[in-house]
Amino acid sequence: MTKTMTALSAAALLSAMLMSGTAHAQTVVSLMHVETGAPLIEAWEKIATDFEASHPDVDVQIQFLENEAFKAKLPTLLQSDAAPDIFYSWGGGVLKEQSGTGALYDLTADMDAEGGAWRNSYNSGPLGGLVYDGKVWAVPYKTGSIAFFYNKEQFAKAGVNADSIKSWDDLLGAVSTLKNAGLTPLACGGGDKWPLHFYWSYLVMRNAGQDAFNAAKANEGDGFNGAPFVKAGEQLRQLGELEPCQAGYLGATWPDSLKSFADGKAAMILGFEATWQNQKTNATDGNGLAQENLGRFAFPEVPGGVGKATDTLGRLNGWALKANPKPEAIEFIKFFTNRDNERALASAGFIIPVTVDSGDAVTDPLMKQSAEQVAGSTWHQNFFDQDLGPAVGRVVNDVSVEMFVGNLSGADGAAMIKSELDLAL
């Protein structure tokens, strides 16, 4: 008797616990990212709140991890139970590596459902950058391009016309003119290395063109030892020999270099689409350069190069999902990157949107130029240090700085990248 009583009460207690469990059950959808701007996160939180309003059972948790920590932790995290449902991706070689491990969810079927409604909501360029082996591995979120930004006052003072900088030699000429006028031509973040790899990347794109770059990436033929890659390195050395950067640039981080530019201590910076906001955040006085004082021009052409002036180097960020995702996670990320939300983020000046017919939402004039440049791009290339994977990518960053400083010849630099690629493949 007592035994059955105990068993019954235990069962009742257990069911009560389970019941109360379901009553309060909320599906947690976690999203892990590396963005640091507080206004942007507030905008994201608003999107999450909107989603939770229509999905009362879902609790969206936006989690931040510092960039380097995120990259270092992700392999372990993805293979554990603590893996975030959705996480930030730069596309490229890292995403490709992850896609081959079974740790990621293949989004192709979801994208193609209902006649490809989801897939067709994005521009084909950004989406295509997240496809490997014909499968979609991440949801596109934002894009952008790298270009030169300049201080109009300083250009006027030195008598340099930005519109006339069309070729590499024009750029070198402008650098010399600025130097002769007693100005610092460039702000460089040599301590972080990757800010200088943009120069080599663009020079490679202009010299070699898309086909030769893709062949080198696949390590076909001479690979990175080919003539256009060596030439790109030599041209980078030419620029370095002019000593165009601010004093101490080899110890300067990217924010340091933005600060130099914002404080009017350098005339140009090769930067992201959001350079105006970025320099503002890093300015000593909190304001930096006025928007009217800021100009923008595309990376110049290289005489005799195969690449076009309309080829662009720039970001492609997306959101990847861990394998066997909760249905709510898929639903949320679909909502997060829908046209309305992309447009809202774009008009607030945070992103260049990836959804169709959304480019007009960008209001910031310099961001708009970047959006137009990407829209009209003949070849949009992801950052080399992302595209070539973490190992080869870091070598590209190292080598770019060494060539810029003059420690390595163009040929030696290219050979180091090639030999790292030989090891990786």
Binding site: L78, G191, G251, P390, L423
Partner: protein, 310 residues
Amino acid sequence: MTLPAGEILLTQPRSVAAVRKGGRWREKLPVLVLFLPPALVLFTMFVILPMGEAGWYSFYNWNGYGLPTQFVGWRNFEVLFKNASFLTALKNNGLIIVISVGVQIPLALWLANLLSNRIRGAVTFRLLFFLPYVLADVAAGLIWRFVYDGDAGLAGAIGRALGYPDLFLLADQKTAMGAVLAVIVWKYFGFHMMLFIAGLQAVDRHLLEAAEIDGANRVQKFFYVTLPLLASTLRLSIFFSIVGSLQLFDMIMPLTGGGPSNSTQTMVTFLYTYGVQRMQVGFGSAVGVVLFLICVVLAFSYKRVFMRND
């Protein structure tokens, strides 16, 4: 089943020694069973196993996903020893040891000698000199990054006053390692000084008095009485310097991150930069194995050769 040792003595008369031995064993067994496994399990899980795993991974080309499958033999080690940055890192570790022994320890010894005398303010000075050691390595690195800044830092201001307007010590590969070494000396001399003060307090005053009576001057007293008596502390101090050099990581990262041009790389920052950041777990493990071997060989041979009698 387990009788207390006393009862055994009563019921089974045996030789006292044998009983004691058996009794001790029986006394120890529960202790062993209770207290050894947790330590053993933890030590195995977090020390022995990872070491073995690192050895295993070091023969593979592996990015950390799934299980290592691409066996590459000794290739990771071959690549490692051809890597110029690794050789720089090795050299830097050696340099840190040399500076520790050649500059830091003599400085610490000199200050300890001054401050172990009963002079006014000795305690305050001891505290001041010891303070940097209390500071976290990362914090020290960040502080010194500001100090060395050529625009806003103290070093920049001094440079401008002396007629060097663009003094960026950490951005120049010729000066960066020197600047890092200065921070290391600043950070750790207080620790060695404290060791020496403790050592000096153990020196018998009578010996010094005897030397004084024999007519020894201060220099002679130091070199013939104090120093020999401090020898074991000195050896310990050098041992800490060596181990510290091999571990140096958290101060370098905020200071220079190993740059410019890898000129301030140490073995551990090299491991982090080339193994962790590049997601080359196989190669990183090879670095770890080499680092481990260097540590073991250095530590054991130092202990065997210099600290045999301590």
